[in-house]
């Protein structure tokens, strides 16, 4: 059964200001949604709400599909890569990814999840496996952080400016990985100012701040 993310009449506020009012949309397997808008329009707020990190004022976010229980919060089937990389600078890249694989991987998919070393090869950084992530450059850190998407496979990717600090080649690789994820039935919601190379994605433009 393909996945379906349904957002109904979602209202979000930050500091008493309503940023998103009565937003409804549906996203099916293989689809991508690009959230655009000026700074302060509520892009990150919307993404954090989808990731279950922010309680909406009203409305519902639900996910259905293969292996998704009816009462599961959408967040446990989603990955959120935000502005910070969620990497411990004292741990090596391999240790960081191994930890996230164990912490975020679902029981049903753990045996199919790739090993941290394979993931590092996939993001083009096999040589840094044994380096503490504190030593890596911003772009390398971001690539290790994106590796989290692979060590614990989850259908919904919530990406907040994922291409920040990535070089041209890594951006192309990210675009290719996102295409692969959609082909495999995954969903992507991304907030961005720069084009991410997502083909025929839906666009959601959040209005100017009131």
């Amino acid at each position: 059964m393909p996945f379906l993310l349904r957002v109904e009449r979602l209202t979000l506020a930050r500091g008493g200001r309503t940023l998103v009012a009565d937003l409804s949309f549906e996203l099916k397997s293989g689809e991508a949604l690009v959230v655009t808008g000026p700074n302060g329009a509520g892009k990150s707020t919307l993404l954090r709400a989808l990731a279950g990190l922010l309680t909406p004022v009203s409305g519902a976010i639900a996910m259905t599909g293969d292996g998704v229980n009816a009462d599961d919060p959408a967040a446990i089937h989603a990955h959120y890569v935000g502005h910070s990389d969620a990497m411990k600078s004292a741990l090596t890249a391999r240790e960081n990814l191994a930890f996230w694989g164990a912490a975020l991987g679902a029981r049903s998919v753990r045996h199919t999840a790739p090993a941290p070393d394979d993931v590092l090869r996939r993001v083009g950084l096999p040589q840094v496996a044994d380096l503490p992530t504190g030593w890596l450059s911003a772009g390398q850190k971001r690539r290790v952080a994106l590796g989290r998407l692979f060590v614990a496979p989850r259908p919904l990717w919530i990406l907040d400016e994922p291409a920040t600090a990535l070089d041209r080649a890594a951006q192309d690789r990210l675009a290719a990985e996102m295409a692969l994820h959609r082909e495999a039935g995954g969903l992507i919601v991304a907030a961005t100012h720069a084009p991410l190379g997502l083909e025929d994605a839906h666009e959601l433009r959040l209005g100017d701040p009131q």
């Binding site: 990731a51 969620a86 975020l104």
Partner: protein, 223 residues
């Protein structure tokens, strides 16, 4: 879920060891606190051995607070907390495991060092055993209560002092029963078990309740 929790436990221990010297740092701080007391009150052995348990307890309390403010703050800053909250494991269990790891990394070395440092305060064998037993029974309460303060101040830049102010009043009952049980161990009118059992009860209650309070605070903070 158990795999996720054990991965978290080992990650915390690894981090404690790699950042800031881990166990050694807390023990050295403990040692310094215990050492400066005889300097400030003078080398009266009778007085020192009488107030020894209290000194060890206060020193252990302060050494426990050391580093506790970073319990959630570092995860909050680097985004790990967001990702942890998206795991299938309830946040309450994540908090409990982080506290358990913090206790193992900072309090266990203190408990092991307490009998050695007690000798410096002219305490006798039974008093040393009493203090060690009460520290082992009481420090979980300090760690878990401290986790509430750490969660409340996780998103504040300089939350360490505020956390201490929030937590120290809550630690008073633990201190009272901890010190009175250690005093009872080396003679006195109260039997050892009476305050010791209350101390155990305080620890068990904090272990059971504090993760819920801390998890609620973390959720509220991020909204």
């Amino acid at each position: 879920m158990t795999a996720a929790l054990s991965a978290l436990f080992w990650r915390e221990l690894k981090l404690a060891n790699r950042i800031g010297g881990g166990a050694a740092m807390g023990v050295v701080f403990f040692l310094i606190l215990v050492t400066i007391v005889p300097f400030s009150i003078g080398p009266d052995l009778n007085l020192l051995s009488r107030i020894g348990p209290a000194i060890l307890w206060i020193a252990a309390l302060l050494a426990t607070l050391l580093g506790l403010d970073r319990l959630f703050q570092s995860d909050q800053e680097d985004g790990s907390l967001d990702a942890l909250r998206m795991s299938e494991t309830p946040l309450e269990l994540i908090v409990a495991v982080k506290c358990a790891a913090h206790w193992c990394a900072t309090c266990l070395p203190l408990i092991a060092a307490a009998p050695l440092f007690g000798v410096m305060l002219a305490m006798d064998g039974t008093a040393l055993a009493g203090v060690t037993a009460t520290l082992a029974a009481g420090t979980p309460a300090l760690t878990f209560l401290g986790a509430i303060g750490a969660a409340l101040t996780a998103s504040l830049r300089r939350g360490g002092l505020l956390m201490a102010i929030l937590i120290l009043p809550l630690a008073i009952p633990v201190l009272i029963f901890g010190v009175s049980a250690s005093a009872a161990a080396s003679g006195g009118t109260v039997p050892f078990l009476t305050p010791f059992l209350v101390l155990l009860a305080l620890s068990l209650a904090s272990i059971a309740l504090a993760p819920f309070a801390a998890a609620a605070a973390l959720r509220a903070m991020s909204d």
